[in-house]
Symmetry: C2
């Protein structure tokens, strides 16, 4: 599919993240306005709530857009999703006769505040990157026992904390937690010294389900995708995670990009999961490609310093797709809900410079990473800003997600002091 040309000129550049092919969904406000639904186009946000109010957009069951979340559209189902895209494309395409009616509802992105684009119902995080699992397993158990026995059969997941999900730009306070060094008999309670990122994509569930669903049905339930940073305190994780998995190590914050890229925008970029190393059970078979070719990068900027790109990888490195993960999630009869968020798991590539966490990049802190301005990092230092970026590159256009960024601010001096 080539670029869909728009009369919004800034949307037509080959490297512009928000061409008419994209139309990602966000929630924005301007000044003291109430937050409401918008879609990004070029250098602007299109105030679709206003267009709906004026009758230029009309959706079955509407109004759905003058609310500070996309959940109502998400719950309305795939036909409404396609209907909305079709109406907005008609309004914004080059030559549209409605341009003069729409122009007033384009607001420069530089002047708006972006909010969490949807109400997160529940958050599940997976562990589905082959290279990440191998790297982490090697550090903990040696290369020969790196992959857990179930890893090639189950898209391993665990429930995360929905209240931890924040929008890009929200500062992230370094957490306190229980940690225990190998030479200590008792644990200590202290600020995390090994605070890390995990580069992930998040799948946003639009349509709910009650019983088990197939991979094809799961794919149809997904509304779109975001970038996701699963902030992790490695020292807290190491002491707490056995036997029941990560808990407080991953509850401080989970940052997502401000824009949900709808599945329709990613259709041209579908790719297959890699060859299976062990046969999958039939309920996990993919009837067609379910992953996406999305180039990803992680960057770190020290306070007042220059940015260093630490890693470049691709979403297609995953061993399991979000549709497979969602299908597995429902096997027990677990009900899925509009607004459920599924983290892909850390996306590491096969090479050292394509690893999706500092733990892997610095090999557990043993190999400091060089920064452009001369410093080094093992884990995150106070006031560092970490940014994830993603782009699917098409024929003369780019599908972007917006930066997924967060600055780590110092831990509280005393978390229990009440003023």
């Amino acid at each position: 599919m080539p670029l869909l040309k728009s009369w919004v000129e800034s949307a037509n550049a080959p490297d512009a993240p928000f061409p008419l092919n994209n139309l990602p969904c966000g929630v924005f406000s301007q000044g003291e306005d109430e937050p409401r639904c918008g879609m990004a186009i070029g250098d602007f946000v299109l105030d679709v709530a206003a267009l709906e109010a004026e009758g230029l957009i009309a959706l079955p069951g509407g109004p759905l857009l003058d609310v500070p979340f996309w959940n109502e559209v998400m719950a309305a189902g795939p036909e409404v999703w396609a209907d909305l895209r079709g109406q907005v494309v008609a309004l914004l395409k080059a030559g549209s006769t409605k341009q003069y009616l729409v122009e007033d509802h384009l607001i420069p992105l530089a002047g708006v505040t972006l909010h969490l684009p949807f109400l997160v119902a529940e958050y599940t995080d997976f562990y589905a990157g082959r290279h990440h699992a191998f790297n982490v397993g090697t550090m903990f158990r040696g290369a020969e026992n790196a992959l857990p026995p179930n890893w090639l059969s189950i898209p391993i997941g665990y429930n995360g904390r929905a209240s931890s999900v924040v929008v890009s730009g929200t500062p992230v306070r370094r957490p306190w937690g229980q940690v225990k060094g190998p030479d200590h008999e008792l644990p200590a309670f202290q600020p995390s010294r090994r605070f890390d990122i995990e580069l992930e994509m998040g799948a946003v569930v639009g349509m709910p389900s009650e019983g088990p669903v197939t991979v094809e049905e799961a794919d149809a339930m997904i509304f779109g995708y975001v970038l996701l940073n699963d902030w992790t305190a490695r020292d807290i994780q190491a002491w707490e995670y056995q036997p029941l998995g990560p808990f407080q190590a991953k509850a401080t914050a989970t940052t997502i990009s401000p824009w949900i890229v709808m599945k329709a925008a990613l259709e041209p970029f579908r790719v297959s999961t890699p060859a299976r190393e062990r046969p999958l059970l039939p309920y996990l078979h993919e009837p067609r490609p379910m992953l996406y070719d999305v180039a990803l990068e992680v960057a770190l900027r020290p306070e007042g310093g220059v940015e260093t790109v630490l890693s470049r990888t691709n979403y297609s490195e995953m061993y399991y797709s979000a549709a497979q993960q969602l299908a597995h999630h429902t096997t027990s009869g677990c009900a899925m809900t509009t607004g459920d968020l599924l983290g892909s798991g850390t996306i590491s590539g096969p090479t050292k410079d394509s690893r999706g966490s500092l733990q892997e990049l610095s090999w557990g802190g043993k190999e400091p990473i060089a920064l452009k301005d001369g410093g080094t990092r093992t884990f995150i230092e106070d006031n560092d800003t970490l940014t994830l970026r993603g782009a699917a590159r098409g024929d003369g256009y780019t599908i972007g997600f917006g930066d997924c960024t967060g600055q780590v601010i110092p831990a509280l001096a005393d978390p229990y002091k009440r003023t």
Copy 2:
């Protein structure tokens, strides 16, 4: 505290579960009525929504009660909780001059449908029963390595699935899942053959928090307690739970009792957690007793058969209190929300007949449990009904929770067949 006498005579019997001292919070409907808030008294539900509409109950920020959940009251805070109790006690106590105004709003419990009493925001389950952890650990790792190294320092918890929470009486369908026998090379996808219960109490979070809270602050945030059955497929759990914890094994259903017993009703029954076997970090210190003396039992009834009580134990067997668990839950800065539900973890006592799961009672299936009608059980069979009961016994009165019950219905023949 002695019995508070009520003009509702059925509330005054020493073994009646719903005396005026209790006043638990539920959501009920009658016929085609809309579900709304009610409180149990004797053999009746008091229609507090109707009393509020008539001005006999007035709450700050009200109306709060003509909704199908208690979350609005829960979010209003401890002063409103006490205010509500005080107003209802004044209306129902023996000698109340308002009796003639209230009588019409007593509806026989036998004629109402009870619904989930609150909207579950997020669900966290813990692993805080000393005997349960020892029993399970012994089965998996031998008695010498039974307790994980962190167990005596951390109230270990993991995030569960809020969408799994259902009210007592909801049938529970036996799940399908991935299982792998020790002699098989590849896993199979089949209905669970080792479906089990876990006897727990649930703490219901009323007031939200943003940063870390102390144990005392955590206790103040708790609105009340329910009985909780954390249904678990042991065969699915065994294959999936390493390294990131239970997932689909516990996502089929989590049944809670229909009544939230407010913390105020349990005050006379506060008891301390047991002596610490290893010193706790200061953030987990309890300033006063935070557990409760609540007698608990598990019963099993085969379809058409008689009931056998399988186990009798007490909530005071826990090593960590809900307040300690909630304080730990916030250490990372994890925000807690009105409607969060915290499962205590399985409550097993020190003796064989006080174990809180079939896995423990049948020692992993090796020691079948005798039933009254001559049969035996290792794990749950189709159409068995499992019931949890709880009671705090005071000076001439009893605080009950209502039965927490569920019948296990057969697995779907083919979970992916669409009709």
